[in-house]
């Protein structure tokens, strides 16, 4: 890993002459080139849009559903939770081909909403499980006082429940970011065939064939794409470890 970071600061000839040593001159030219030559900005924006869209949509719809199942007198609440629980065991490969056809025929292929819908749907089961567990641990007096003050259920959810749900929101955001959007590979690889709509992990696989073996350049793009998860991890390693292992245990 360290070796990649070092490589990303070297020029092409130095990568070959001294692959293990420190770069003689720390140069940022690979970073500048990767943005210029490979058009990296476009893919960073794409990945960012897919990720933010997915986090918002999955948490938005998932928390509402989990709230209804956990705290409203919904007769089929347990049935609803089981519906999403079975969803956890559906592997991506069983639907990937049909997803491609569905997106193509609905005109959503190669669009931001298309991939965001698919990502959010695939992240929904885990989102709902996390929020369901969290909402059930909250005392019912929370909304009651709001209802007495004349609030309706939507106001109670937005003003009382969501603000106290920050821990669940953070956990879910981490899981969705790491496992369902920023790093996601198969769905993006198969359903996106417009090169301008590729996400960062997909675009990077084409850089090798596109530019031969410019490892310095490639090292720079690898560092750029890994920065968001690594920075998050440096600040909250414990939290991220807990979030991801909890998520996999729920599976």
């Amino acid at each position: 890993m360290i070796w990649i970071v070092l490589t990303s600061f070297k020029n092409a000839s130095e990568v070959y002459s001294s692959p293990f040593g420190l770069p003689q001159q720390w140069s940022f030219s690979n970073y500048i080139d990767s943005v210029k030559i490979l058009g990296l900005t476009r893919y960073i924006i794409n990945s960012f849009t897919y990720t933010v869209g997915t986090v918002i949509l999955s948490i938005g719809t998932g928390s509402l559903f989990a709230y209804a199942a956990a705290r409203m007198n919904w007769k089929r609440g347990t049935w609803g939770i089981q519906f999403f629980q079975t969803g956890l065991v559906i592997p991506v490969y069983t639907i990937i081909i049909s997803l491609y056809i569905l997106l193509r025929d609905s005109g959503l292929k190669n669009t931001f909403p298309g991939l965001i819908f698919v990502y959010s749907a695939s992240a929904l089961p885990i989102t709902i499980m996390i929020f369901y567990g969290f909402f059930r641990s909250l005392p019912f007096e929370l909304e009651e006082s709001a209802f007495i003050d004349g609030a309706n259920i939507f106001q109670a959810f937005l003003r009382i429940i969501l603000p106290v749900s920050i821990p669940a929101i953070i956990t879910t955001s981490i899981v969705v970011f790491m496992n369902y959007s920023w790093n996601e590979f198969p769905i993006a690889f198969i359903t996106i065939d417009d090169q301008y709509m590729r996400s960062l992990p997909i675009a990077m696989t084409y850089f090798t064939t596109l530019r031969g073996t410019e490892w310095g350049l490639l090292g720079a793009t690898m560092v750029i794409s890994s920065l968001p998860p690594i920075i998050l991890y440096l600040f909250a390693s414990e939290k991220i470890e807990n979030a991801l292992t909890t998520a996999s245990v729920l599976k």
Binding site: W3, I4, T7, P19, G60, T61, L64, F65, Y67, A69, R71, M72, W74, G80, F84, I90, P91, Y93, T94, I95, I96, I97, S98, L99, Y100, I101, F117, A121, P125, I128, E143, I148, N152, F154, A156, M178, W182, N183, F185, P186, I190, L200, P201, I202, M204, T205, T208, W215, M222, S225, S226, P229, I230, Y233, S237, I240, E241, S248, V249, K251
Partner: protein, 295 residues
């Protein structure tokens, strides 16, 4: 307050978006997968019902069997190498939680939060035939005759891929084991400490029997993960040389999007899913008998 939480309309508004999203993009696509597996289908038009012909073709396809055996090999490598290694590291780390060990734990987890593309590009630099890191290391220690074209040589390609996958997820499994070990109450260890039990004794007599559930759970996770293997193959070898390193998912992707045999690809999906179902049934029948409850 009851009228608030009982109202049918508010329940619908709360639940419908999630149900719709999930039904359309996850549940619905299962149907065409099954349906078109019985058709001669190129992705645009179905040219007619062919019964179980796609299935017969898949079962007679040597590339399908080879890709299936690759997945099984990967699974066995994870069962007998990746998993046990993660467990061993977790046992060592929890036995002696020094600062250095905790730093190791943090670093070992890192690869599992990076994208498969980054991991695989990193490893293709290591395996690279011309001046790759691995070859250079071998040269440094004077083992030039061990040098191979790791991702091309038929005898090494599948193991080279397995090594990458084991390496990427070992830290993740380690953390799961570690959390399981840490949840064992201290009282279990006190008697052992008084009697001066060794690391080996503590591990085999106390720790491992008490984390059975975690072991089963990691087993299930590893199984599901290896069955879905696709990205590693795509980035490291593109299924090659030829078709020897394909996983099943790569093979069905290739069949649909390179050969435009969507019907055939769907039949692979169905057969593979049934195979997965059988494996999970076997695991829960013979290994994971108790339900895992975490609340």
């Amino acid at each position: 307050m009851d009228h608030h939480t009982r109202s049918k309309i508010s329940i619908m508004i709360f639940t419908l978006p999630a149900i719709l999203l999930f039904s359309v993009f996850i549940i619905y696509p299962l149907l065409p997968t099954l349906f078109y597996s019985f058709f001669d289908y190129n992705g645009s038009i179905a040219k007619g019902f062919v019964g179980i012909e796609n299935y017969l073709e898949t079962l007679q396809d040597p590339v399908f069997w080879n890709s299936l055996s690759n997945v099984w090999r990967l699974m066995l490598a994870q069962y007998f190498l990746g998993g046990p290694l993660a467990l061993l590291l977790a046992l060592i780390l929890s036995y002696n939680s020094s600062k250095l060990n905790m730093a190791f734990k943090t670093i070992a987890f890192l690869p599992s939060i990076l994208s498969v593309t980054v991991i695989c590009l990193l490893w293709s630099m290591i395996y690279r035939a011309d001046q790759g890191l691995l070859d250079r290391l071998l040269m440094l220690v004077g083992k030039e005759d061990w040098i191979k074209t790791w991702l091309v040589d038929l005898s090494t390609v599948n193991w080279s891929i397995a090594a990458v996958i084991i390496w990427q997820y070992i830290g993740f499994n380690l953390i799961l084991f570690y959390a399981g070990i840490k949840s064992i109450p201290h009282t279990f260890y006190e008697a052992a400490k008084v009697e001066g039990a060794s690391f080996l004794q503590v591990s085999t007599k106390i720790t491992i029997p008490l984390i059975q559930e975690i072991i089963r759970f990691v087993l299930i996770l590893i199984t599901a993960g290896t069955m879905g293997t696709f990205a590693h193959i795509q980035v490291l070898t593109n299924g090659g040389p030829g078709d020897v390193s394909r996983s099943v998912v790569f093979h069905l992707y290739f069949k649909a999007f390179q050969l435009f045999d969507f019907g055939g690809a769907n039949s692979i999906t169905v057969i593979f899913a049934i195979q997965g179902f059988i494996i999970f049934a076997l695991i829960s029948r013979f290994i994971a008998r108790e339900r895992i409850e975490y609340t």
